[in-house]
Amino acid sequence: MDLFLQQVVSGISIGAIYSLLAVGYALVYSVYNFTNWAFDAFMAFGAFMAFYAISSFFLPFWVAAIISILLAIGMAVSTEKLAYRSLRLRKAPRLFMMISAMGANLAIVNLLNLFFGGQFRRFPVENIGTFSMGQVSVGRMDVLAGIISFGVLGLLWVFLYRTKPGLGIRASSIDILTASLMGINNDAVAFIIFAVTGVLSSVAGIFYGIKYAVYPTMGIVTIKAMIASIVGGLGSLPAAVVGSMLLGILETLVAGYISSTYRDLFSFLFLVIILLFFPNGLMGKSSDEKL
């Protein structure tokens, strides 16, 4: 029982990081109907920026995190401008957007490799240890990762459902052309959406980097977030969070009870089984609420 609780707690923390990533995919998908493959490069980029802000400039963790977020926003927004905007304005098929996204991903990851080298780096934060809750010992960093991740997602929810620009983005996710005929500026929507993905990727990158390591291809973990958002239901933000939590907990349970070697095997198996019974994902209704 203790092992179970232990793994669930740890699963919630990794699930929270997956949530950030899955929501980042879902947000872009909900408006533009394509998978932003460059997203995982933003994550690695964010982690690298925080890493060097701390290790080379000796900045405190929080300052480094904020700088990393700002730079990741810049990276995401400029990727949109350079790689997607002209395709979007010419109403290119979404396959082209995806290929352009893959190109952007390769470019960013290889630039990181070129400038910083491919070795694994330990994220330079001190171990803030664990505390015990009954029989379960909980990593403080796990708790922090969970709180910050859900805090960010909470702010995003408030933004989407309680503010005017949020309303414009929700409208764009339903029908982008009609939204623009109602005076919603498509370019402004794109700017905001990609800025948000910059925030999400950077926060996820920092916590994932702390949990494991910082290296150029660390973004490969976003494949898990993809699984999570498909399991939940593609293009829906709440579904992305639910899928991520399920996947995070499942993975740590497999790692705890069976073997961490088989962890990824079970993740994909889980995806296949879910899709057999729920072809649109657990909460996906092809034409229902997307945000």
Binding site: V158, M182, K290
Partner: protein, 279 residues
Amino acid sequence: MSDSIFAMKNVSSEEISLKNLSVQFGGVRAVDNFSMTLYPGELVGLIGPNGAGKTTVFNLITNYIKPTSGEIFFMGKSLLGKSPDEICRMGISRTFQNIRLFPQMTAYENVELGLHNVPHYSLLEAFVRTPRARRAEAETRKRALELLEMVNLKDFAGERASSLPYGLQRRLELARAMATSPTLLLLDEPAAGMNEDECNELVKLIRQIHEHMKYTIIMIEHHMNVVMELCKNSRIYVLNLGSLLAVGSPKEIQTNPQVIKAYLGERKHARYNSNAGSQ
């Protein structure tokens, strides 16, 4: 500066003018050398058989389609090259032949979306809920509810648009179009799918809106009694195969042999009635 404002107020200038518009899709001329001019406050009809290019004219005005040649001026400024949201903010708003509401959002949210002219407040203010942001929100709320009331939908403010009956969705689209504070309203078949009673109510509603809000309106409509009634003091443009077939008062249009031919074919004059063209 003050001079030019003065000048603009005095000259009863054209609200919108389409000049020799043509658009070609492959080998088909969807709109062929079409011209049309409206003065502020006019309500004109745009009719024609299916495929005549009526909706294409609307799509050209909102720059969803780029014309192959020709020009569009709105309040003296060219609309070519402007994005749909710029055109909306200049004061042009439209409804759709096939309703295009945001089905998952409430009636209220559908209208709220278009209310851009309320006092502006920053995102930070919205998060912190400063007095200014709260005042703006209250103002938005008031205006959204006023608009819903104007189309008799106030009681449905919290309902999802998709759960409203068809006729109410049409009216919601009208309220949404008005939310952006347009001066020119493009109505694409507002009476589509309505029965006679609903049509009569719609005529009343459109007339009310037209009189109270001083909009300039172009209306595409297949229900002849609706067009004839609303345009009885103005004129109707008839499009056929992309080009202008006739312009005139409802009376003139009804008796124009070319119009009758376009709608019914050469030898069926006798069967023409006031509902011709509706389906």
